[in-house]
C-alpha cells in the first residue's frame, strides 16, 4: 500500500484480478449482483424440479428423499444466496452514491464479505454430490430432523451457515459504518433516501440476528457430534427450543429480505409518478417500527407446537400490529402515485406489481396470524403461497425493479424497454399462475414439502407448475436484457429518468469508477 496516488491511476485493474482483489464498492456491488443472479438460476432450477414432480400426482421424476433435498436447497439458496446478496449488491452500488461518499467505510472487509459467499455456497451445494445426499430437512431445518435424523452432510450445512453468517455480519457492519460515518456534509439522517434508511435498519437487524442463527446451528453441531441434548427431551432439552431460537432469527430475517425492497420501491414510485415521496418521515418511523416488532413475533411460526395460551395470544396480537406500519407504507406509496404524472417504464411496472402483490401476501399473512385459523393453514400450501407472494413478487420483483431502474446508471446505456416490458408481463402472469392456485390448494388441505398428493389437488398443481415453468423461463429474458445493456444501446443521460431525484443521478452515466472523491455540493442535497 503506497501513500502516493496519482489522479491518472484510478481506473479498474485489468483482468481477473480486478474482481478477485477489488476494494471498489461498484465492483463489489456487481460481484454480489452476478453471484445473486447465478444463485437465483440455481435455486430456480431446484424449483423447476419441484414443480415438475408436482405436475401430476404420483411419483414421476425424483425419489421422495431427493425431492426433500430440492425443497431444502431451493429455500436455502434463494434466501441466503439470491435475495440477501442481491440487496447487499444494491447497497454496495447505491449507498455510497446516494449519500455522497467515495466508497464503503471499510473497503477491504467489503471484499471479504463478498468472497466468502461463493466458497460457502460451493460447500453447501457440494452436499448434493455427497453419498448422504444434501440436507433434506427443509430450509427451516427443524430438530430432530436436522440433528438425530439428519444426513451426515448436515455438518457442512452448519459450517456453510456459519461462514455466510460471518459474511452477512461483516457486510452489515460495513453498511452501518458507511451510513453513520461517510455521509457528505449536509446529508442529515432525515435527508437520506429511503433506500439508505431501510438498509441502515436492515443492517441492524442482520447484526442482531445472524449471531443467533450461528448460535442455533452451533447447538445442532454439538447435539450431533458431542452428545449435548439441547433439542432432545430425553436429556432434558426440547425440540421446540430449536424452533424458538431459529425463529428468533427467522422472523427478523424475513424483514431483512423485505425492508430494502421497501426502500427500492420508495425510490422508484416517486420517480415515475413525478412527485415527492408522500410521508417520508412516516416511512422512516414505519420501517423502524416494523424492525422493532420483528423481534417480538417469532412464535407465530409455531402456533401448533403447543404453546401456553398466553403465548399464542401475545404472538397473535403482536403479529397483527405489524399491519399498522406496513399499512402506512402501502398508503404512502399509493398516495405518492395519486394524481401523479405517471409513466410505466419497466421499473415502475415491477414497483406497482410489488405494491399490489406484496400487499396480497401481507393480507394472507394476517390470515395466518390468527391463531385458530393458523391451526388449519399451518404447513399447508397456503403458507407456501403466502411467503412466496411476499418473496417473489415482493422481494424479487423489487430487486428486478432496482436492476432496471439503475442499469442505465451502471452501464451507461438504456436497457431494451420492449424486452423489459416483455420480461415484466411474462413474470407477472407467470408468478400469479404459479402461486395463486396454491392458496386454494392450501385451504383445501394440501400439505407442503411432499412429492405426491391426493387426486383432488391435481388440477391446481398442474396449473401452478405451468406458471412455474413460465416464470422460470422468463428470467432468461432478464439475463439477456442485462447482457445486451452492458454491451451497448441508446446512451443514457446522467439524469436517466425525468423525475429522478438524488445524488446518484448527478454523476455521469455510467457512474465513474470513483464517485464523490470530494463531497458533492450541499445544494444538490434535497429535502425528502
Amino acid at each position: 500500500m503506497s501513500a502516493a496516488h496519482d489522479d491518472h491511476h484510478h481506473g479498474p485493474a485489468k483482468g481477473i484480478s480486478r474482481w478477485l482483489f477489488t476494494t471498489n464498492h461498484k465492483d463489489i456491488g456487481s460481484l454480489y449482483l452476478w453471484f445473486s443472479f447465478a444463485m437465483f438460476l440455481l435455486g430456480g432450477t431446484f424449483a423447476m424440479v419441484i414443480r415438475a414432480e408436482l405436475f401430476q400426482p404420483g411419483l414421476q421424476l425424483v425419489d421422495p428423499n431427493f425431492f426433500n433435498q430440492m425443497t431444502t436447497m431451493h429455500g436455502l439458496i434463494m434466501v441466503f444466496g439470491a435475495v440477501m446478496p442481491a440487496f447487499v449488491g444494491l447497497a454496495n452500488w447505491m449507498i455510497p452514491m446516494m449519500i455522497g461518499a467515495p466508497d464503503m467505510a471499510l473497503p477491504r472487509m467489503n471484499n471479504w464479505s463478498f468472497w466468502i459467499l461463493p466458497f460457502a455456497f460451493a460447500m453447501l451445494s457440494s452436499t448434493l454430490l455427497m453419498e448422504s445426499g444434501a440436507p433434506n430437512f427443509g430450509w427451516t431445518f427443524y430438530a430432530p430432523l436436522s440433528t438425530t435424523y439428519a444426513p451426515s452432510s448436515v455438518t457442512f450445512f452448519i459450517f456453510a451457515v456459519h461462514i455466510m453468517g460471518a459474511s452477512s455480519i461483516m457486510g452489515a457492519i460495513n453498511i452501518i459504518a458507511t451510513v453513520l460515518n461517510m455521509r457528505a456534509p449536509g446529508m442529515t439522517l432525515m435527508k437520506m433516501p429511503l433506500f439508505v434508511w431501510t438498509w441502515l435498519i436492515t443492517a441492524y437487524l442482520l447484526i442482531a440476528v445472524m449471531p443467533v442463527l450461528a448460535g442455533v446451528v452451533t447447538m445442532m453441531l454439538f447435539d450431533i457430534h458431542f452428545g449435548t441434548s439441547f433439542f432432545n427431551a430425553a436429556g432434558g432439552g426440547d425440540p421446540v427450543l430449536f424452533q424458538h431460537v431459529f425463529w428468533f432469527f427467522g422472523h427478523p430475517e424475513v424483514y431483512i429480505m423485505i425492508l430494502p425492497a421497501f426502500g427500492v420501491v420508495s425510490a422508484i414510485i416517486p420517480t415515475f409518478a413525478r412527485k415527492r415521496l408522500f410521508g417520508y418521515d412516516s416511512m422512516v418511523y414505519a420501517t423502524a417500527s416494523i424492525a422493532f416488532l420483528s423481534f417480538i413475533v417469532w412464535a407465530h411460526h409455531m402456533f401448533t407446537v403447543g404453546m401456553p395460551i398466553a403465548g399464542e395470544l401475545f404472538f397473535m396480537y403482536a403479529t397483527m400490529l405489524i399491519a399498522v406500519p406496513t399499512g402506512v407504507k402501502v398508503f404512502n406509496w399509493v398516495a405518492t402515485m395519486f394524481r401523479g404524472s405517471m409513466t410505466f417504464e419497466t421499473p415502475m411496472l415491477f414497483a406497482i406489481a410489488f405494491v399490489v402483490l406484496f400487499t396480497m401476501g401481507g393480507f394472507t399473512g394476517l390470515m395466518l396470524a390468527i391463531t385458530p385459523a393458523d391451526f388449519q393453514y399451518h404447513d399447508t400450501y397456503f403458507v407456501v403461497a403466502h411467503f412466496h407472494y411476499v418473496l417473489v413478487p415482493g422481494a424479487v420483483f423489487s430487486i428486478m425493479a432496482a436492476a432496471y431502474y439503475w442499469l442505465p446508471k451502471w452501464t451507461g446505456y438504456m436497457y431494451d424497454e420492449r424486452l423489459g416490458k416483455l420480461h415484466f408481463w411474462l413474470s407477472f402472469i407467470g408468478v400469479n399462475v404459479l402461486f395463486f392456485p396454491q392458496h386454494f390448494l392450501g385451504l383445501a388441505g394440501m400439505p407442503r414439502r411432499i412429492p405426491d398428493y391426493a387426486l383432488q389437488f391435481a388440477d391446481f398443481n398442474w396449473i401452478s407448475s405451468i406458471g412455474g415453468f413460465l416464470f422460470g423461463a422468463s428470467q432468461l429474458i432478464l439475463l439477456f436484457v442485462v447482457i445486451k445493456c452492458i454491451k451497448g444501446g441508446k446512451k443514457a443521460t446522467d439524469q436517466v429518468w425525468e423525475g429522478a431525484q438524488g445524488l446518484e443521478w448527478t454523476v455521469a452515466s455510467p457512474a465513474p469508477y470513483h464517485t464523490f472523491a470530494t463531497p458533492p455540493d450541499p445544494k444538490l442535497i434535497h429535502d425528502q
Binding site: D103, V216, F226, F230, L241, P308
Partner: protein, 308 residues
C-alpha cells in the same frame, strides 16, 4: 485503504489480495473441520481432514496477521483519516454487539430450558402431560441431575452451582475467585488505558502485563474446573441439558477469554515496541472494549449458571 494524500478528502481504496485468500483459508478450515467431525462419527480416520483444516487455519491466521500489520503500518505512516478511524470505532462497537447476540442465543436457551422445558418435562401445568406420559418418574429440579432418560444421557453425580450461601462455601468456590479475577482484570486494563493516556509507557506495559496474567490465570482455573467437572462431578457435554448449557456457555466464554487474552498479549507486545499514542490508540482501546465485554458476559454467567 484511506489514503489522504495531497487531495483533501480524497479516498483511494487500493486493491488487496488479503480477503480473497482469507476466504480460501476460511473455507478450508471449516470444510476440513466438518469432514473430520463426520469421519470421527463414522469411526474413520480423520487425519486427512484434520490436515486440511489445519492448513486452512494456518492460512487464515497468516492472512489475518498480515491484514492487521497492514492496517497498523498504514496508520503509522499517517495514511488513516479521522473518518476512517471513526469507521473502525463503529466497526468494533457493532462487532461486539453481534457477539452479545451470539451469547444471547445461549442464554436464551438456558432461560427457556429452566423456565419452560424442564418444568413441563416434570409434568407441570397444562403442558406437562407429555412429560408425565413419557417419563413419569422425572421430577423437575434445576440443575437437572436425574435426566429423563439416563440410559442415553448419563446422569452427572453432582452439580457445580452454588448450593450453600455461606462464606466458607464461597471461599472454596472456584468460579467466585474467577469472577474476582476477571473483574480485577477489567480494572487493570482500565489502569493501563489511563497510563497510556497520561503518556506513562511503563505503567501501560505493567498494567497490561498484569491483565494478560490475570486472563491466563482465569483460563488455568477454568481448565482445572473442567477437569474436576469431568473427573469428579461426572458433568460432561453428554450428561444432559445441565451439562449442555453449562459447557456451551462457559466454553464459548472461555474461548472468548482466550481470544481476548491473545489480543491483549498482542497489545502488550505492541506497547513494548512503542506503538500507541495518547491520542491515537484505537487498537488498544478496541482490545480493552472486547475485554470488558468478555467480563460482563462472565458476570451474567456467574449469576445465571452458578448463583441462581
Amino acid at each position: 485503504m484511506a489514503s489522504v494524500g495531497s487531495h483533501e478528502n480524497y479516498y483511494v481504496p487500493e486493491q488487496t489480495k488479503l480477503p480473497f485468500f482469507a476466504s480460501i483459508g476460511l473455507v478450508f478450515m471449516v470444510y476440513g473441520l466438518g469432514a473430520a467431525l463426520n469421519d470421527m462419527k463414522a469411526a474413520e480416520s480423520a487425519t486427512a481432514s484434520t490436515w486440511i483444516s489445519l492448513f486452512g487455519f494456518t492460512l487464515l491466521s497468516f492472512i489475518i496477521f498480515q491484514w492487521f500489520s497492514t492496517v497498523i503500518r498504514e496508520n503509522h505512516a499517517g495514511m488513516n483519516s479521522d473518518q476512517l478511524k471513526r469507521s473502525y470505532v463503529w466497526g468494533m462497537a457493532w462487532f461486539i454487539f453481534s457477539e452479545v447476540m451470539f451469547f444471547a442465543a445461549f442464554f436464551g436457551a438456558l432461560y427457556y430450558v429452566r423456565s419452560f422445558a424442564v418444568p413441563w418435562l416434570g409434568g407441570e401445568g397444562d403442558k406437562g402431560i407429555s412429560g408425565d406420559m413419557l417419563w413419569p418418574e422425572f421430577s423437575a429440579v434445576w440443575p437437572v441431575i436425574e435426566n429423563p432418560n439416563s440410559a442415553i444421557f448419563t446422569n452427572p453425580h453432582e452439580a457445580l452451582n452454588v448450593h450453600e450461601w455461606t462464606v466458607a462455601f464461597f471461599a472454596k468456590f472456584l468460579p467466585f475467585w474467577n469472577t474476582l479475577i476477571l473483574i480485577t482484570s477489567s480494572v487493570t486494563v482500565h489502569f493501563a488505558h489511563t497510563a497510556l493516556k497520561a503518556e506513562n509507557r511503563k505503567g501501560l506495559i505493567q498494567w497490561l502485563a498484569v491483565t494478560v496474567a490475570l486472563g491466563v490465570i482465569f483460563l488455568f482455573l477454568q481448565a482445572f474446573e473442567y477437569i474436576e467437572a469431568y473427573g469428579h462431578y461426572g458433568l460432561t457435554l453428554d450428561s444432559g441439558i445441565y451439562g449442555s448449557t453449562f459447557f456451551l456457555l462457559t466454553g464459548f466464554h472461555g474461548f472468548h477469554v482466550t481470544l481476548g487474552t491473545f489480543i491483549l498479549a498482542v497489545m502488550l507486545i505492541r506497547a513494548i515496541k512503542g506503538h500507541f499514542k495518547p491520542d491515537d490508540h484505537f487498537g488498544f482501546e478496541a482490545a480493552s472494549w472486547y475485554w470488558h465485554f468478555v467480563d460482563v458476559v462472565w458476570v451474567g454467567l456467574f449469576i445465571f449458571v452458578y448463583l441462581l
